[in-house]
Symmetry: C2
Subunit: 337 residues, 2 copies
């Protein structure tokens, strides 16, 4: 078991509507354990850690923290930055200076990797440290778990948005026949797939859902839209921003990388809209809610919030019990929906 | 006073989140008056009228109508189509065939003009008809009234969205420094201006709001963004889709007209983002909620819903009392907020 010391928590990668619930769970659980002396937070994740930009969360008013836990986006600030060998010395210096013995990083695959590398660094250096990953992503693409905190609320946002635009598009179909909703997602179509959750029949919108796992050619897109418009008089399309064509080429243009080395792709739905307009002479409206998908406090799923809070609590209690170099996961009981 | 007969109601222009409240108000008020025999609806506004695509709203279950009244977008369908001299004969034929004596059109300036022209047509032809306009628009740009049903809910959506992305942008500022929220609005900046309503201090986001009433040059944009980022480390910008530069040229590209002869402008925020990226080397994220602004049922303002319902009711009661060729307006009592 790790000896007593301070806990340091950070948030990495894209914000979600419930990532602060995990932060709250961590702080509230940490308060229950004598082994944890002070509860510290790094500003802007790894970026703040390296600069020693550390705040004392134990000084925060508990009531105020509960309000923060109900607020969207990452209250500590976040970053997209990989851990590199050059980071080893400053990281160990800051951890030692603050007597950090529990290191918790809330984030996705890249943040879990950072926690894992810092664990390895500490182990090699003989610095007594327990690292834990706390899962978070709206993409629902983390390994070894059933679903991810952050996904449920973003999925609720998208399902609600798809329902709203299905009414809107049907109403204005005499003028604008096609609406495309462009959805976030790197290589995972979960969020786009969630757009059908408010449908009550297979004839309901959205009529076409394009996910990155399945390429779509311009010919196929035009053919499918034509069929839908012939049947319904209008079409509601949901497309992930990272969809690719039959040659594996993104529909979007790249605008550099996101800091983790992943391509940033912009304009997929706009290009789909141009192809549909040019080929079929239909008017196309593109909606791109962008970061609203991950920050809409009014669409938080209560189940998602509770699970995000829980993974934070469990990360602390397991760490105190001796678990280390792990990420908390959510599994599903067989037979449950 | 108009003699007894049927009432015909339609919805025109862009949908809103509360236009069905006006429809409900009309139907529920019409049920109270003996002079109104049947309550009819035209599908897709003027387009349906000309085709004789008429439904009997009196046959609808009252409970179901109340649910429709709580749903976003135009339940009858809408259109963007001007009334032309060629429409005179079919219009009179359909009105007479259905014994329509009360004609109500829910919509904006263009729809009110259609109601006015149909009134003039009936008067010239000696056909006894009472026409009334029922106001609706998210742009808040109707003449002679304090504010417009539909605006309040869209304003609430935008203020909420601006608050959400202000948290999100502050959280991810180490990677993405600038977020632009592109807002609807033809020549009116009311909706963009509503984005500041959730601010609690002048330092809060959104930091820059660009409205169509005030042109902005690329130089000015870059200078202002640079100042904001120097002060806050990030910038949240709200821009109306129809903003123009110092030469009066739209920042957006035109993609034809909207059916009323108004230009459809696309891509203003995207171009602003490119200018900011190219000039300042900052990463810019563009959010364009598009038709979600006018269809978000979860952001309906209760006051807006009540007023939308009320203007529908008043249009009927005033028409029965002998008013004609008018649009209902909302005025503000002096001294009230």
């Amino acid at each position: 078991m790790t000896r007593s010391g301070n806990l340091l928590v950070g948030q990495g990668g894209g914000p979600t509507a419930v990532i602060n619930a995990s932060l709250l769970g961590i702080v509230e659980e940490a308060r229950q354990h004598r082994q944890i002396e002070r509860i510290l937070g790094m500003r802007y994740g790894l970026v703040g850690l390296l600069k020693g930009d550390i705040v004392d969360l134990g000084l925060e008013d508990p009531q105020r923290l509960r309000l923060v836990g109900r607020s969207p986006a990452a209250a500590l600030g976040t970053c997209r930055r990989r851990f590199t060998p050059h980071d080893a010395t400053p990281t160990l210096a800051v951890l030692a200076a603050h007597n950090v013995r529990f290191f918790l990083y809330i984030g996705g695959n890249d943040s879990a990797d950072t926690a894992h590398q810092i664990q390895a660094l500490a182990d090699q250096s003989g610095y007594d440290l327990t690292c834990m990953g706390v899962p978070k992503t709206i993409d629902n693409d983390l390994a070894h778990m059933d679903h991810t905190p952050g996904y449920g609320s973003a999925a609720r946002y998208i399902a609600t948005a798809a329902l709203n635009i299905s009414y809107d598009t049907a109403a204005i179909a005499t003028t604008d026949q096609v609406t495309i909703l462009e959805v976030m997602g790197r290589n995972a179509g979960w969020l786009a797939a969630a757009s059908i959750l408010a449908r009550t029949s297979s004839d309901d919108a959205p009529h076409l859902v394009y996910v990155p796992e399945r390429p779509v050619s311009a010919d196929c897109l035009v053919r499918q839209v034509k069929q839908v418009v012939a049947r319904h008089g209008h079409a509601v399309i949901v497309a992930t921003e990272t969809i690719r064509d039959e040659n594996g080429k993104p529909w979007a243009r790249s605008t550099g990388d996101d800091g983790f080395g992943h391509a940033r792709l912009v304009g997929a739905a706009e290009r789909m809209g141009d192809v549909i307009s040019d080929s079929l002479g239909l008017k196309v409206r593109v909606n791109k809610p962008g970061s609203l998908q991950r920050s809409a406090g009014e669409c938080v799923s209560p189940v998602d919030w509770d699970e995000a809070y829980l993974v934070g609590k469990v990360a602390v209690s397991r760490a105190v019990d001796g678990a280390r170099d792990m990420m908390v996961t959510l599994l599903r009981k067989p037979g449950t929906a």
